[in-house]
């Protein structure tokens, strides 16, 4: 007899205030990480305020801890927002499928993230950086509405230290500050200016639905990417993460079990229910 809804308790080691409303929480269970793969997600909660679904944002190869990043928006996230290092956080998971790194090995990679969607991208990006020799050229394109909305500002330079790795950061027009030295422009616009070709390259795209829509269009129609080489995630509302509660399906696909990672080709065959 087993209770699949019973969470484990993890200890908060560190909290990073990324933006006004977004934080990254670093956790340990028995002073270590848990076994997960990039792209998977968990159900996190400050018990008493309900569970929330978040993707992991750290590389599973960094085994001392695991991380997620969240934006305060409702009851559960406000609950987590009130916690401090040393406090306990309840956690269930990992759930769902993951990015298929075997398919990415030996290829050039382009990681495209928008807003909080950069969280799962960071997990797979840092996983690939941790095993840098296994992959070809890596290009990172990350955009947010404004400079103040950018997550992970302190680690862009770490990513840039790896060889054959380009990191392009952009903010929406009007979101720049006077001392801003990086790009200004919407993600799809900047994407089309990058020296990328669809050959031997895998693209990972996560962000708000509108960004995904236009980024996929650019990749497929203007840059010659094959739909099977573009990987993205769906973020339907979830409760159980276990294929029981019945709310995350898109047609016959249960995002919590069959996803959240899908190729653009798989998404194309789904009914318009997301």
């Amino acid at each position: 007899m087993k209770n699949i809804y019973l969470p484990k308790l993890a200890e908060i080691k560190e909290i990073i205030q990324e933006t006004v409303d977004t934080k990254t929480v670093r956790l340990t269970i028995d002073n270590g990480s848990i076994f997960f793969l990039p792209g998977q997600f968990g159900e996190f909660s400050f018990i008493g305020e309900g569970e929330s679904t978040f993707g992991f944002s750290s590389s599973p190869l960094r085994k001392e801890y695991f991380e997620f990043s969240f934006r305060s928006s409702g009851r559960a996230t406000t609950g987590i927002n009130g916690l401090n290092p040393g406090d306990k956080l309840a956690f269930r998971g990992p759930y769902g499928n993951h990015f298929d790194t075997s398919k990415m090995k030996g290829k050039d990679l382009v990681f495209i993230g928008g807003g909080i969607g950069m969280a799962p991208v960071k997990s797979i990006l840092e996983y690939c950086l941790d095993e840098r020799a296994d992959y070809g050229k890596i290009t990172v394109l990350y955009g947010a509405r404004s400079v103040g909305d950018l997550l992970y500002k302190t680690i862009f330079e770490d990513w840039r230290k790896y060889k054959n790795t380009d990191v392009v950061i952009t903010v929406d027009p009007g979101g720049e500050t006077p001392d801003w030295t990086e790009k200004v422009g919407f993600v799809p616009t900047i994407l089309e200016q990058l020296p990328l070709k669809g050959e031997n390259t895998i693209a990972v795209v996560c962000g708000p639905p509108i960004m995904i829509k236009f980024a996929l269009k650019s990749l497929e129609e203007k840059m010659g990417f094959d739909k099977g080489d573009i990987i993205t995630t769906l973020e339907n509302r979830m409760k159980c993460g276990l294929g029981k509660c019945g709310r995350c399906n898109v047609g016959s696909v249960y995002v919590c079990k069959d996803g959240p990672v899908f190729t653009a080709k798989e998404i194309e065959s789904l009914p318009d229910d997301f």
Partner: protein, 342 residues
């Protein structure tokens, strides 16, 4: 186990039930009170009303309670104490029998069991299901809302029952479907008379007014179709159809309590509510009641059957009988079969 056949008089059936109650079985049977009909715990055989065609609510709540505690919590400083709810699954150690339920309700159990066991196993459901013995009574006169025959069952189907009774005059013929059924009557065998298989009354030829496969073939090809938006304009999204349905199983998980102690519970939820799929960003994949009723149809007649090979509907007709807007699923599914041929 091979099926076994028996006969029992109406008088002895009463004795059978009253003896089980005396032997500490918890008997859940169709009852009525103040014009309301439901499955409830009886104190004696005469508390049950076996003339009710189908109680308003199914006995789903004995498998998946309206609300159930997943765990309890209490805080002391930063430490959290968690008490696992699975230890106290209500009904776990009880000898619980559903007596006099209908074949459609019995068929719903195994249908839900699949959902609660693909991939991860939900032992809250499993423990309850395991400890439930189901004694059904075949229907003699289904009403216009019923369509169990169309749903690959029949008013006399024994699917999902451990013991099925059929009324023949002032006697009942009984088929014991499995070991659970045999175990139940083992102590009361003196009340039953074993008969040969060919003495058991054969099933009547129940007519079907549509072929369900046709409805599926329409759903396979038509996610976007005006029918859904037009037909369900009158739906007010109250969710009654899903709450009264014996196979609808979607749930919500919520925390209830304060900063000191409380519990995490799961409650029945409904795909007919707008907030069911509402994203935090405000985006909602199912924005209209048409989208939401389409999901109900898709889940029942396409999605479930693709995953598990049967349908997520037993044709009990409750969702139609109880709909305040008179939306009749039997007519709707018939429409789909006609649209498929159109």
């Amino acid at each position: 186990m091979e099926e076994k056949y028996f006969e029992i008089s109406a008088e002895d059936l009463k004795k059978f039930v009253d003896s089980m109650i005396k032997d500490n079985f918890e008997i859940i049977a169709p009852m009525d009170r103040d014009g309301d009909t439901f499955y409830g715990k009886i104190g004696k055989f005469d508390d049950a009303n076996l003339d009710i065609l189908l109680p308003k609510m199914s006995y789903k709540e004995y498998l998946l309670p309206k609300t159930e505690t997943l765990f309890e919590y209490s805080f002391s400083g930063v430490d959290i104490d968690i008490k696992d709810g699975i230890e106290s699954v209500e009904g776990k150690n009880r000898k619980r029998v559903i007596f006099g339920g209908r074949p459609c309700d019995a068929a719903a159990g195994p249908i839900m069991e699949k959902v609660f066991n693909w991939g991860y196993k939900d032992d809250f459901f499993n423990e309850r299901f395991k400890n439930l013995t189901i004694v059904s009574i075949a229907c003699e006169k289904p009403d216009d809302y019923c369509f169990c025959a169309e749903m690959q069952l029949s008013p006399e189907s024994s699917h999902g029952s451990d013991l099925l009774l059929k009324k023949t005059g002032d006697k009942y013929s009984a088929v014991v479907v499995n070991d659970k059924g045999l175990e139940l009557i083992a102590s009361y065998l003196n009340l039953f008379k074993e008969i040969a298989k060919d003495e058991f009354p054969p099933d009547k030829d129940w007519k079907k007014i549509f072929e369900i496969e046709k409805a599926k073939s329409f759903l396979d090809k038509n996610f976007k179709h005006n029918y859904f938006q037009d037909r369900f304009l009158s739906c007010i999204g109250c969710g009654i159809c899903t709450y009264t349905c014996p196979t609808c199983h979607c749930f919500d998980i919520q925390d209830e309590g304060d900063m000191k102690k409380g519990k995490r519970i799961r409650n029945w939820d409904s795909c007919q509510f707008a907030i069911f799929t509402l994203h935090t960003s405000g985006h909602n994949p199912r924005n209209t009641q048409g989208d939401r009723y389409r999901q109900r149809l898709m889940h029942k007649f396409k999605i479930y059957s693709e995953k598990f090979d049967k349908y997520l509907c037993v044709g009990c007709g409750r969702c139609s009988r109880n709909c305040p807007q008179d939306i009749n699923i039997k007519e709707v599914v018939k429409d789909l079969t006609e649209l498929a041929s159109a």
